[in-house]
């Protein structure tokens, strides 16, 4: 089944759902309960020191977000094997978001420098495999950037929802 057709469906669904609840929750309003296409599921891989803490900061600040992301905590983006993302897609993730400390702020001083080279290549290869840009993103969010985390998540989820749930054929 083609991305396009998904898009149209999901678009319609999202549009229908949007007004019903807090912006954050619109996508997941029609959960299994109320039929409709399933909400998109997104894997977030975040480093313990910056982005995980940043997500905490967002929580403490009650910054509403879409509920589609499931975070996996790793000590450092340097620990993230590109295969994690590919594996997530293989297992049926609709999107993958990786986030760590801003360059220079790595708790282990160098981890994210190695990581960003891998991620950049990973991103380009993922698109090469026919997985649309909107479905993969890597970025930096620091422990104090609660609002930025909210923004990143909201935008990313919106992008993935445009495409809707993914029917990966090869990965």
């Amino acid at each position: 089944m083609a991305e396009e057709t998904q898009t149209s469906q999901a678009g319609a669904q999202a549009a229908g759902a949007a007004p019903s609840a807090a912006p954050g929750d619109s996508p997941t309003v029609g959960t299994a309960a109320s039929g409709g296409p399933r909400p998109v599921k997104i894997i977030g891989i975040v480093c313990n020191w910056c982005s995980y803490a940043g997500a905490d900061t967002a929580g403490v600040g009650r910054f509403r977000q879409p509920a589609n992301i499931r975070l996996v905590r790793v000590p450092c983006t340097g620990r993230v094997d590109p295969l994690f993302a590919l594996k997530a897609f293989e297992k049926g993730a609709d999107g993958v978001l990786i986030s760590g400390c801003h360059p220079g702020d790595c708790h282990y001083s160098e981890g994210n420098y190695y990581a960003r080279r891998k991620f950049e290549l990973l991103e380009r290869m993922i698109h090469h495999l026919g997985i649309p840009k909107e479905r993969f993103q890597w970025t930096w969010v620091s422990a104090s950037e609660g609002q930025r985390w909210q923004q990143v998540v909201t935008d990313f989820v919106a992008g993935v929802e445009k495409l809707g749930p993914r029917k990966g054929r090869a990965l």
Partner: protein, 654 residues
């Protein structure tokens, strides 16, 4: 495998948006889960007791708590599990508060997500293994970065506790901003009088080594064993010989900007910031020295009785080892000239910053405490203070309150009356008065009533010169009308910023900082002086704007934390580090290439056969090597590849 799941209500924090009861119920259906319950406050004693009980009754070998962020309570529950007789690392947390209940409103949605997070935690728990931490020797010396009142206080407390302390100060003297102040609120006692004795104590204390005019270049290592490169800047004066007689300063023909007096009056190219400087040693500002700029002069060399001047002096770097680091880099005053054009961009002579006014008031300042107009030297008849310049102002990117300006403005208003006579007209434009400290509110009241300082609630929109006066146009929000005051002197209560270079230092120390460059504490309430980097502590305004009492209090708090840390001869290291499965190692040495800490080494397992081996005490557990190892034979304890993959898989099952 016998897993127990505990889902926390956290009062209504979680329960209001997540149906914790149902989540707990469903958890019972998970593979390997033999016990699941919901608890009102899991972190409270009854909650912890319930966990310990379950471990005993149900013979649990893994514990999963779904509650707040692990950054909040992971340690708490590790201890709890430990007391319950289980290895503390057989514990996993699901963050269903910060990452769920607090950011969602729709109950079914939040509950569904919480359920996923619990599943993921259980999946990870299945992959957990018991871990035992290691012990390392502890170096008991302490590095204090910054010699302001915070650094001084911390250093003295630590030194009195018998620890060897090194203060690294980038200026030629310790004392920091407090040394520049005239009086302190609310007691109006002389700032120098209370600070300088402590500076001297530092100089004389057998346990304290003051390294002035030095900067921290590189920091490596970890709690208990830091290695620090300290760069001694070239003063062009041999401080072992210099006696601080100031003859060179008197004779030096070249003028140079005086940072200590905030640019009010120039100093000399060779200078000693102020009479009570510690150490009292001269240094040359080469960019202003005639010898270095024009190749002639050398007057200071000729007049120096100790022949300490050394134009050839080079900066050198020394390496020192410490067990703990206290950061006390303090503050910088907001450069209002660059932002407040409506206040004249610094082009109007009689508009000065609060700190400049302190120097003007100070008896040891460039004017011997004579308050006057910089335009014509006359004593001011009307003085206007404007608060919140560079504070609480989004338009200049400074939304935060600098917390000291209300009080120092009140103090300066009072001192103005004191110096220039009670008949002087003194106005203060303010947004709100924040006088929350002990005796502060009373002090402000006195300033308003006894000293008749006129407080105008409102902001000033424009300063301009007219007939030799500075016209202050503002809006009185209480009268609801525009007011215009012809002032002789205008003092701007410029706000507080993190010190220059704070960000770079934070990166060297790998501690996190906020968007304004203030260092981030471990937890805003529970770990106010620690950072998230073990062994690095905070004191004073480098963490957030503070007044002197708060700074000193925090410095002592930090000292006590350091003393507590260094009371141990050995430290337990985190066991969550990398380990090489040498059976599978193909000796490609990629791990050695990428490790930021040099933890992996070549180990001869059999004659002629080298395999990688991670030195436990050096590894910090970042896992870069794990992601790099092509055969995945390096595993990161607590974050094994299987654990990660299982979490991903679990999250996607539905």
């Amino acid at each position: 495998m016998r897993i127990g799941v505990f889902v926390c209500h956290c009062g209504t924090n979680i329960a209001a948006t997540v149906d914790v009861v149902s989540v707990a119920k469903r958890a019972l259906g998970l593979k390997d889960v033999v016990h699941a319950e919901d608890i009102m406050y899991t972190c409270a004693e009854p909650g912890q007791a319930a966990i310990r009980k379950a471990i005993e009754d149900k013979k649990l070998d893994r514990v999963v708590v779904a509650a707040c962020s692990p950054h909040m309570h992971e340690m708490t529950f590790r201890r709890c599990v430990d007391n319950g007789g289980l290895n503390p690392y057989l514990f996993e947390m699901a963050n269903i508060r910060e990452h769920c209940s607090w950011i969602h409103t729709d109950i079914p949605v939040a509950t569904e997500k919480a359920w996923d997070l619990v599943k993921m935690a259980v999946a990870k728990a299945r992959r957990l293994e018991p871990l035992w931490s290691n012990e390392v020797e502890v170096n008991k010396d302490v590095l204090v970065i910054g010699g302001g009142v915070a650094g001084i206080q911390a250093a003295l407390d630590l030194a009195d506790a018998g620890l060897k302390v090194t203060i690294v100060e980038r200026e030629t003297t310790i004392g920091g901003v407090m040394a520049k102040l005239d009086k302190t609120f609310p007691t109006i006692d002389c700032s120098a009088c209370i600070l300088t004795p402590r500076m001297v104590d530092c100089a004389q204390h057998e346990n304290i080594d003051v390294m002035a005019y030095c900067e921290v270049d590189r920091v490596s290592g970890y709690v208990g064993n830091f290695t620090v490169d300290v760069r001694k800047k070239a003063a062009m004066v041999d401080w072992t010989k210099c006696v601080g007689c100031e003859i060179c300063v008197q004779k030096c023909p070249a003028k140079a900007p005086d940072t200590f007096n905030v640019g009010l009056e120039p100093t000399k190219a060779i200078y000693i910031p102020f009479p009570q400087a510690v150490p009292k040693r001269a240094a040359i500002q080469v960019e202003h020295c005639r010898w270095f700029t024009q190749g002639k002069c050398r007057v200071c060399e000729k007049v120096c009785p100790a022949d300490a001047v050394d134009y050839e002096q080079k900066e050198e770097t020394v390496q020192k080892r410490f067990g703990a680091i206290v950061v006390a880099t303090g503050l910088e005053v907001f450069p209002w000239e660059e932002y407040y054009h409506e206040y004249g961009s610094g082009k109007i002579k009689d508009v000065i910053s609060g700190l400049q006014y302190e120097r003007m008031l100070s008896a040891s300042g460039p004017y011997g405490g004579h308050v006057h107009r910089l335009s014509n030297g006359e004593g001011p008849k009307t003085v206007v203070f404007i608060q919140c310049v560079g504070s609480r102002d989004d338009s200049v990117g400074r939304p935060y309150c600098s917390s000291v300006c209300c009080m120092y403005t009140a103090k300066q208003a009072l001192l103005t009356k004191d110096h220039c006579g009670m008949d002087t007209e003194v106005y203060v434009f303010y947004i709100d008065i924040r006088a929350t400290g002990k005796g502060y509110e009373e002090f402000v009241k006195r300033v308003q009533t006894e000293f008749g300082v006129k407080y105008v609630r409102g902001r000033v929109s424009k300063l301009y010169e007219e007939e030799g006066k500075v016209m202050v146009r503002g809006f009185d929000t209480l009268l609801g009308e525009q007011v215009e005051i012809a002032a002789d002197l205008v003092v701007l209560a410029s706000g507080i910023m993190a010190a220059n270079g704070a960000k770079e230092l934070a990166q060297k120390l790998s501690v996190s900082y906020d968007e304004f460059g203030f260092f981030k504490e471990g937890h805003p309430k529970l770990r106010p002086v620690e950072t998230n980097t073990a062994g690095v502590f905070l004191a004073g305004a480098c963490q957030a704007p503070k007044d002197i009492p708060a700074t000193v209090a925090q410095a002592s708090a930090t000292a006590s934390k350091v003393i507590g840390l260094l009371a141990n001869d050995k430290l337990k290291t985190s066991p969550m580090i990398a380990i090489v499965g040498q059976k599978d190692c193909v000796s490609c040495w990629k791990c050695i290439d990428v490790c930021p800490f040099g933890a992996p080494e070549r180990q001869e397992v059999r004659p002629g056969e080298l395999k990688s081996h991670v030195i436990e005490t050096v590894c910090q557990g970042c896992g870069v090597c794990v992601a790099t190892c092509p055969v995945n034979c390096i595993s990161l304890k607590g974050f094994s590849t299987d654990a990660v993959l299982d979490q991903i898989e679990e999250a996607l099952l539905s």
